[in-house]
């Protein structure tokens, strides 16, 4: 019974995570701007792969695997915003423009 519950939880997490990853990839195409694309890819993509790793941890239940999966999730959650912030800052500094329909540009001097 408990095994079945873990299976169902893992299955739901897998479905949610892969949906998030797919939506991140769709957002890369649908959004008009490097900055909005970054918002899609870094946030949604991180949640997607994090959910998939957590599903692996929930399914296997082995202590070493759970620890490694959780370490991977924490590492990914730590590094993804840093790299996205760095990329956005650099591309703004170099002069890639915001899209025309963007409402406000807080960094404008």
């Amino acid at each position: 019974m408990i095994d079945g519950l873990a299976d169902i939880i893992a299955g739901l997490m897998i479905i949610a995570g892969s949906t998030f990853a797919f939506l991140a990839a769709v957002g890369l195409w649908r959004l008009p701007d490097i900055y909005t694309r970054m918002h899609s890819a870094s946030k949604t993509g991180t949640v997607g792969s994090g959910l998939l790793l957590l599903a692996l941890a929930a399914h296997v239940g082995d202590t070493s695997t759970v620890t490694r999966a959780l370490a991977g999730v924490v590492f990914f959650l730590l590094t993804a915003p840093i790299s996205a912030h760095l990329l956005a800052k650099v591309s703004y500094a170099v002069g890639y423009r915001l899209t025309d329909i963007s409402v406000v540009d807080e960094l404008k001097k």
């Binding site: 095994d3 079945g4 519950l5 299976d7 169902i8 893992a10 299955g11 739901l12 897998i14 479905i15 995570g17 892969s18 949906t19 990853a21 797919f22 991140a24 990839a25 769709v26 890369l28 195409w29 490097i34 694309r37 970054m38 890819a41 870094s42 993509g45 991180t46 997607g48 792969s49 998939l52 790793l53 599903a55 692996l56 399914h59 296997v60 082995d62 695997t65 490694r68 999966a69 370490a71 991977g72 590492f75 990914f76 590094t79 993804a80 840093i82 790299s83 996205a84 760095l86 990329l87 650099v90 591309s91 500094a93 170099v94 002069g95 890639y96 423009r97 001097k109």
Partner: protein, 161 residues
């Protein structure tokens, strides 16, 4: 029943992750600018980590979780290095034009009260040029204003390229 559901969800996830992977690769190929491609590469690493998790769940090869962690590290470092590369590559054409426009605006703003800052800068420079007479400084003043301007204009592409 529950394992059937898990099997179905694994198949579903593999299909969706494959689609995401394909879309991201196409974005790497097509992406109009360099940051788009770098972002798509970052996204590719995330999708690959998801793949590793799903495959590990399906087959039981949990050893690949270590590979996923290492892949995340490499992807992060690659993104940081690419960001530094964008910075080192310099301004885009649009950014160059924008900055030129801003600087010309700034110059036209500063040129209106240009008499006062010029005399101020002369006072600062005077101690270094002690033997120079007042007449020479006056002639230099006339000659210097175009010289600084002409020095500034070729300097612009130097700093930005």
């Amino acid at each position: 029943m529950s394992s059937e559901f898990l099997n179905f969800s694994v198949q579903f996830a593999l299909v969706l992750l494959s689609a995401a992977f394909l879309l991201t690769v196409l974005k790497v190929i097509k992406g109009p600018t360099l940051p788009d491609r770098i972002l798509a590469l970052d996204m590719l690493v995330a999708t690959a980590i998801g793949f590793i998790a799903v495959i590990g769940l399906k087959t039981g090869y949990t050893l690949y979780v270590d590979v996923a962690i290492a892949l995340g590290l490499v992807g992060f470092l690659a993104t940081v290095a690419f960001a530094r590369f964008i910075l080192a590559r310099g301004q885009t054409e649009e950014g160059r034009e924008k900055k030129r426009l801003e600087e010309s605006q700034k110059q036209s703003e500063t040129e209106k009260p240009s008499v006062e800052p010029d005399t101020n800068s002369k006072v600062v420079e005077k101690p270094s040029k002690k033997p120079v007479t007042a007449k020479k400084t006056a002639s230099q003043k006339v000659a210097k204003t175009p010289r600084t301007r002409s020095r500034k204009t070729p300097k612009k592409p130097e700093t930005k390229s």
